[in-house]
């Protein structure tokens, strides 16, 4: 069943979505991942750069779907860059010819394979010093992912149900985080590692599982949900590592990969939100009001968190855009309960960091009053006991 699920996901997904899982598979095979692109203009035909266990540099170009002659001609420029341009990355010897891979989740037609072979042989014959291009198609990818998933499959009915509900989710609405936590906690991180490889296998499996469980949200481009999904994995991973005292060398690269996915998705969210006039979403007839308020708080909270986090990666000139968004939309925010606090907390921290102390203080004041009012409404006025009165009077005053 899991194989069918992975195959189903793999045939429907795109290169951006399977890239993180593929990186993890490479790490599982002993590669050191140096670079995983966000598919920007600076790729030079290389989406992933790794150092293989034999010390050779590998460069991968990831694609989606079947590659026939017409698709091959369309990507010819990128493939030329992949094989001709040396890997330009700190620590990589440019003089050494890298190995080049064309990766796709579809099939590669025979005429294209013939062309690739002819070109490789021609480059060798004429001693062009170009990289030798190899191909990784759907079947190889599928085998890699299924192997990476390994023995970490849901076996109990509740786990299977949570797994299927996540996998078959329509991709609209909030991510069912508790289900994702449950699947990770009971399936990937449920067993205590006995050998060193058990922990490594669990980490690899968790990354592959999360990649395809988030596929529905990836397909609908709900970046907030996907970022939260990767954050769920990051926190589950950290808990697992802490609980079982796994050595850092076994998890550092994987955790960086997961955290990198969170950052990448929040950056995509920021780009989308900045281009919008308002935060209405979906069926707007019944939007607005509290739903818009809750959405506003979630989005602004995530953007504020992203701005505060890893500021060195922030593209220049966008600070003001996010600050402007916060100023423009903050009045609409709705705090629905305890779980809303982290979003508000990051907004307040972001405002303080940008020198908007008055707005930050106002938000804190509103929060304080709301908490007091709701507590009074629930419990009535509560007076401090005589002990606290004595402490306040004698120690503080």
């Amino acid at each position: 069943m899991i194989e069918r699920a992975i195959e189903n996901w793999l045939t429907k997904t795109n290169e951006r979505n399977y890239q993180a899982a593929f990186c993890q598979v490479l790490m599982h095979e002993g590669h050191r991942v140096l670079f995983s692109s966000s598919h920007g203009p600076m790729e030079q035909g290389k989406d992933i750069i790794t150092i293989a266990p034999d010390g050779r540099c590998h460069a991968y170009q990831t694609k989606t779907g079947d590659i026939g002659l017409s698709e091959w001609r369309a990507i010819a420029g990128e493939i030329l860059e992949l094989i001709e341009l040396p890997v330009d990355y700190p620590g990589v010897d440019k003089a050494q010819i890298h190995r080049a891979f064309l990766v796709t989740n579809g099939t590669i037609s025979d005429p294209v394979r013939v062309q690739i072979n002819d070109r490789n042989e021609d480059n060798e014959r004429k001693n062009r010093q170009h990289a030798y291009l190899q191909v990784i198609g759907r079947d190889s990818l599928l085998k890699s992912f299924v192997d990476a998933q390994g023995r970490f499959v849901p076996r109990e009915l509740p786990d299977m149900r949570a797994f299927l509900e996540l996998y078959l989710h329509e991709g609209r609405g909030l991510l069912p985080k508790e289900k994702l936590f449950a699947v990770l906690d009971r399936v990937a991180f449920g067993e205590q590692p006995i050998r060193r490889s058990d922990a490594v296998d669990a980490i690899t499996s968790s990354l592959v599982v999360v990649t395809y469980l988030l596929n529905a949200f990836e397909q609908s481009q709900d970046y907030a949900a996907v970022a939260e999904g990767w954050a769920v994995l990051a926190s589950s991973l950290v808990r697992y590592l802490s609980r079982h005292a796994v050595a850092e060398k076994h998890w550092r690269a994987s955790l960086d990969l997961v955290v990198g996915e969170v950052s990448a998705k929040l950056t995509l969210l920021r780009a989308d939100v900045i281009s919008r006039a308002d935060f209405l979403e979906g069926d707007i007839r019944v939007d607005g009001g509290l739903l818009l308020g809750a959405r506003t708080l979630i989005v602004l909270g995530l953007l504020a968190f992203n701005e505060l986090w890893r500021p060195q990666n922030r593209p220049p000139g966008l600070d003001e855009a996010v600050l402007s968004l916060v100023r423009q939309h903050l009045a609409r925010r709705f705090v629905w309960g305890d779980s809303a606090f982290p979003y508000l907390f990051h907004i307040i921290r972001f405002l303080e960091a940008r020198g908007e102390n008055a707005i930050a203080l106002d938000q804190l004041g509103q929060l304080f009053v709301s908490v007091i009012n709701s507590n009074v409404a629930a419990q009535g006025p509560i007076f401090p006991g005589p002990y606290y009165y004595w402490v306040i009077k004698n120690k503080l005053m």
Binding site: G173, D272, V273, D283, R285, V286, D287, G288
Partner: protein
């Protein structure tokens, strides 16, 4: 008369949304069906922004809100004094209806469709939320009721002409004679105490005409000649009803 109502939407733009309440009337007997569908796959598909990222959304809550709006809309349509008392049954398939009366007349009617437009401004949703949608439907409700009234009167005129129940006043003002002529034409049932059941009868007239007729009818209540004539008519109708009941075929 049977109605199915679905919604088809014109699309969502930066300034708002225009939509249509799609009313399908199936005229075949003095009953109507109503299915008001303000949600549904097509609506969602049209409302969703294509090829664009989405922000966190709450589809389950929205579905419930749409259902509540739909129920409210239907209640307001059903609160109309003319349309409300007509029983409603859902019909989910077919595009024609056939019905027969006691005289063996079979009538076949096609599906009739009506599109009731509504419009919501994006700014209004930002400011007032779902209330803006409910307000926009109030205009649609009036158009919807007008369409239903038109269909009801049209069908009513067809049927009364066909069976010979129509009374032509020939330009004369409304009078007690005309009123009794109308009552003569209709079939009246009686309850177990022998009281006439006229709960299904309605006098529908233009407000200008009502201004003259309503005071006149109030006077009839104190007019002994009128009351005697009415009692005589009801005695005759009761006898007709007894004859009908005596000859009624009982179901096994």
């Amino acid at each position: 008369m049977n109605r199915q109502i679905t919604v088809s939407l014109g699309g969502s733009g930066p300034y708002g949304l225009t939509g249509m309440i799609h009313v399908i009337n199936r005229l075949w007997r003095p009953l109507y069906n109503e299915r008001l569908c303000l949600s549904g796959g097509r609506a969602r598909a049209l409302l969703a922004r294509k090829e664009a990222a989405i922000l966190p959304d709450f589809p389950a809550i929205k579905q419930r809100l749409l259902r509540l709006v739909s129920i409210g809309y239907r209640r307001r349509i059903n609160s109309d004094s003319l349309i409300g008392p007509i029983s409603a049954l859902p019909y989910f398939e077919g595009n024609r209806f056939a019905s027969g009366d006691v005289e063996g007349y079979i009538e076949s009617s096609p599906v009739e469709e009506k599109l009731i437009p509504y419009e919501i401004q994006r700014a209004a949703i930002l400011a007032r939320g779902v209330e803006a949608f409910i307000e926009s439907l109030k205009v649609a409700e009036q158009l919807h009721l007008a369409a239903l009234h038109e269909a009801l009167f049209r069908k009513h005129a067809e049927v009364t002409q066909r069976v010979g129940n129509a009374v032509d006043a020939q330009g004369k003002p409304f009078s007690a004679d005309l009123y009794f002529e109308m009552l003569e034409k209709i079939q009246v049932d009686f309850d177990s105490w022998g009281r006439p059941d006229t709960s299904g009868a309605r006098l529908v007239m233009h407000p200008d005409m009502a201004e003259r007729v309503v005071p006149m009818m109030a006077q009839w209540e104190n007019d002994t000649a009128f009351q005697q004539r009415y009692r005589d008519l009801m005695i005759r109708k009761r006898n007709e009803w007894r004859d009908r009941e005596s000859n009624r075929k009982l179901v096994d």
